[in-house]
């Protein structure tokens, strides 16, 4: 049998067409292939969508609908955070839930132990997640493809099993498999606890807007440019003095920071965290799948994926009431396979070309 050999040998010099652009312009990293106008248009769109979304609770008072919107937007946020590194680096992490877990646990423990408001606890949890991501990412990013994916699962599973079987560590009550509860404080802005759904909704819309803006910034920053160059041809990028490890780690840390804050939001919204769910592989898979099916490496792809897939799961559950065990996961799997085979750039790609054909794109739709 052969040993692992660089896949590049098979077809030496042909990068994917969409990646030809980036590495072929290495001499001018400051100038980006797209004009600035497009970028600010995207930013305007994010602002517009955020404003429109913020207004929703003024119209919709139905608490379940709002609850469902929060869940969908939570997944959209988590998928966007995942996409921030994986979508642009082209690596598949199936361990991102470990960052959500550390953020969620930190938020709860800082609140119960030190009385620290979740408004501060969430970013602190995010920072801890970023710290963990550097420890995990530093050795791991040297690995590629499936090696990287398997290592991320292994790290996350190690942490999950450890948390599930640890009741206290250094005096900190992790409470093992039983999980942690956020004590009720009633309506309290400081404790990030509300009786209604609308405040939670506004928080997650704000978080999502932040994550989308960060992704937009990435696309137009040197960091994003380098990441794409690394993705297109790692060795060429390296020979131009771009240090893959450094830029990938920066992106991973930002992604983990956002994911950690998402874990904190989960803890506040559901008022309960346990390792099986928040550090579990299911959550990691959801984040990756929504991003990939929607369109990884784009600003809005993960949002699209979540907006389509999260309600799909909800509706199949609601309508079938569990009469066909596991049917919605089968549907999920089939959509995933079809997307990988026929829409490798995600659902966002055909949607754009369809709209272009309908003439809805206006000028320059061919770009």
């Amino acid at each position: 049998m052969t040993t692992a050999r660089p896949d590049r040998l098979r077809s030496p010099t042909v990068p994917r067409p969409d990646e030809i652009r980036a590495p072929s312009l290495p001499a001018a990293p400051g100038r980006r292939p797209r004009d600035a106008g497009t970028g600010f248009g995207t930013l305007g769109l994010i602002a517009l969508m955020t404003l429109a979304a913020m207004a929703l609770p003024l119209v919709v008072t139905d608490s379940y609908l709002l609850h469902s919107c929060i869940v969908v937007l939570f997944f959209a946020y988590m998928a966007t955070a995942w996409n921030f590194v994986c979508g642009y680096v082209g690596q598949l992490s199936i361990g991102h839930a470990m960052f959500a877990g550390i953020g969620g646990y930190a938020t709860v423990l800082l609140f119960t132990g030190l009385g620290l408001s979740p408004w501060l606890g969430m970013p602190v949890g995010g920072l801890l997640a970023a710290l963990l991501s550097v420890v995990v990412g530093y050795p791991t990013f040297r690995l590629r493809g499936p090696y990287f994916a398997l290592t991320t699962i292994a790290f996350a599973e190690m942490i999950r099993i450890w948390v599930e079987n640890t009741d206290t560590v250094l005096g900190i009550p992790l409470n093992g498999a039983a999980g942690l509860t956020v004590p009720l404080r009633g309506e309290s802005l400081a404790a990030l606890q509300f009786n209604g759904k609308a405040p939670y909704y506004w928080v997650i819309v704000g978080l999502l807007a932040g994550a989308l803006t960060a992704t937009w910034w990435l696309e137009h920053s040197k960091l994003g440019f380098y990441l794409k160059a690394i993705r297109g041809d790692r060795d060429a990028a390296e020979s131009l003095g771009i240090s893959p490890a450094r830029y990938q780690l920066v992106a991973l840390a930002i992604s983990a920071f956002m994911t950690g804050i998402g874990g904190g939001f989960y803890a506040q919204f559901f008022r309960y965290v346990n390792a099986e769910r928040l550090i579990g592989v299911d959550l990691s898979i959801d984040m990756a799948l929504m991003s990939i099916i929607g369109g990884q490496g784009t600003v809005f792809g993960p949002l699209l994926g979540a907006v389509l897939l999260a309600p799909l799961a909800e509706i199949t559950r609601g309508h079938l009431g569990g009469s066909l065990l596991g049917l919605h996961i089968v549907v999920y799997g089939i959509i995933l396979m079809l997307a990988v085979l026929y829409l490798p750039k995600g659902l966002i790609a055909p949607l754009r070309s369809l709209l272009a054909r309908l003439g809805l794109l206006g000028r320059g739709g061919r770009r």
């Binding site: 248009g41 949002l303 509706i315 949607l351 272009a356």
Partner: protein
């Protein structure tokens, strides 16, 4: 500007699509006056799906019986309507489904959710919406220790389970003058197994037993050889085990293969050993002389058998292919507790119904199918008359040995248990 415009349109379309999808869900719930909706959150897919299915079957049979017998008489024969939701054993999905059932399906009362990790946060949602919730299966102590007004539990707390196991050992010790001095614990490493182990650990110390092995295993093992060696090396007098069905099956099979003898037997706290599909899959030799902490008395003696009981047992077996399980029985019993409360409340209004449930005091009838003599809740919503039974597997049948008053005269506990080599 161009690409972003396309994205905006795309997104708007997607949002509209999903909004439309939600709207259809909303229209489904045409609430009729002659129907009272009861919401159930159960694990219907994922690792605990078998239990969810058993509970659902018991619940459905009870509702069919109640509706066939004329529904809720105090409400002009209103029929009960069941709305099931799948939690997938995940807390957040359980919470979301609880929201849906309460908000959308407009249920009068909720029940479920077997997994403590789901029940704990989901009951908090019910409390917030002032919707009564009757807990099924979940044993986490804190569920009925939060001063909630709308949460009730018919079955045992986790601490009761541990106490009963040691009570049974103490009883047999008292009766025969001999018994174990050292115990080993071997349990699954998730919430249930670990919290049970913590309770046993505390009680065993109080009662003067020495724990010679205290070992957790992650779920879904494929080999227990290493752990069985450890038990063999620790030489305990008895083993306390807490495993779900697949792991318990592996454990029991391997103990038989390895002829691992424990003088005072294996004391299983249920889980796998209460699951009828477990007994379908295992050789009777592997579970001979097992002590099982049962959530309901399997060889129930009390009173005459009600016709409802024969009916539910026959239908259950016809649907699932094996005999009634503890979770099927608990689901069945919950529905009759709800019926009782509805009859007294004369209303399906949640607040009124909550007060009726709180005032429950049942001493006869199908609501006692799970094996209790009485159902009455304390101010925390816990049924203080809840208890299990300890059975021993004698000649292929689980016969109650504890409490002594429930032991039938022809049940002679095997104590100490015969070694593998000495069994016929």
């Amino acid at each position: 500007m161009t690409t972003s415009f396309s994205r905006r349109v795309a997104l708007r379309g997607a949002l509209a699509l999903s909004a439309a999808a939600f709207a259809t869900t909303a229209q489904v719930q045409a609430q009729s006056q002659t129907e009272i909706s009861v919401g159930w959150v159960l694990p219907l897919s994922g690792g605990s799906a078998a239990i969810g299915q058993q509970a659902r079957t018991g619940v459905q049979i009870a509702v069919d019986q109640i509706n066939a017998a004329g529904g809720i008489k105090a409400l002009n024969g209103a029929k009960l309507k069941l709305v099931f939701a799948d939690s997938q054993s995940k807390p957040d999905i359980g919470v979301s489904e609880t929201e849906r059932l309460i908000q959308r399906e407009n249920v009068a009362v909720m029940s479920g959710a077997f997994n403590s990790a789901v029940t704990f946060p989901a009951t908090e949602v019910a409390e917030r919406y002032k919707t009564p919730w009757i807990v099924m299966g979940a044993v986490k102590d804190e569920i009925t220790e939060r001063n909630f007004k709308y949460v009730f539990r018919i079955n045992n707390k986790a601490t009761y389970d541990a106490r009963e196991q040691l009570d049974a050992i103490d009883l047999l010790k008292k009766e025969t003058g001999q018994g174990p001095k050292t115990l080993a614990m071997f349990y699954e490493g998730s919430d249930w197994g670990r919290s049970h182990a913590a309770n046993v650990r505390k009680l065993a110390k109080e009662r003067g037993y020495t724990l010679v092995l205290d070992e957790a295993a992650p779920p879904n093992q494929v080999d227990f050889s290493a752990q069985l060696l450890k038990i063999r090396a620790a030489k305990p007098d008895a083993l306390i085990a807490a495993f779900y069905t697949p792991d318990h099956l592996l454990l029991s099979r391997q103990m038989l293969e390895q002829q691992l003898n424990l003088p005072y037997g294996v004391h299983s706290v249920g889980g796998g050993t209460e699951d009828p599909s477990f007994y379908k899959a295992i050789s009777p030799k592997a579970v001979a002389y097992y002590f099982v902490q049962e959530d309901r008395q399997v060889d129930a003696l009390q009173g005459e058998r009600l016709p409802e009981f024969a009916d539910v047992e026959a239908k259950f077996k016809a649907q699932l292919g094996y005999d009634m399980s503890a979770y099927g029985a608990q689901g069945f019993a919950v529905m009759y507790v709800i019926k009782d409360a509805l009859e007294r409340a004369r209303s399906a209004e949640r607040q009124v119904l909550r007060d009726a449930v709180a005032a429950t005091d049942i001493t006869a009838g199908p609501a006692l199918y799970a094996g209790y003599q009485r159902i009455k809740f304390d101010e925390q919503g816990q049924n203080t008359f809840a208890h299990g039974a300890i059975s021993q597997n004698l000649n292929g049948q689980r016969r109650t040995v504890w409490p002594a008053e429930s032991r039938s005269p022809d049940t002679k506990p095997a104590w100490p248990v015969p070694a593998f080599g000495a069994r016929s």
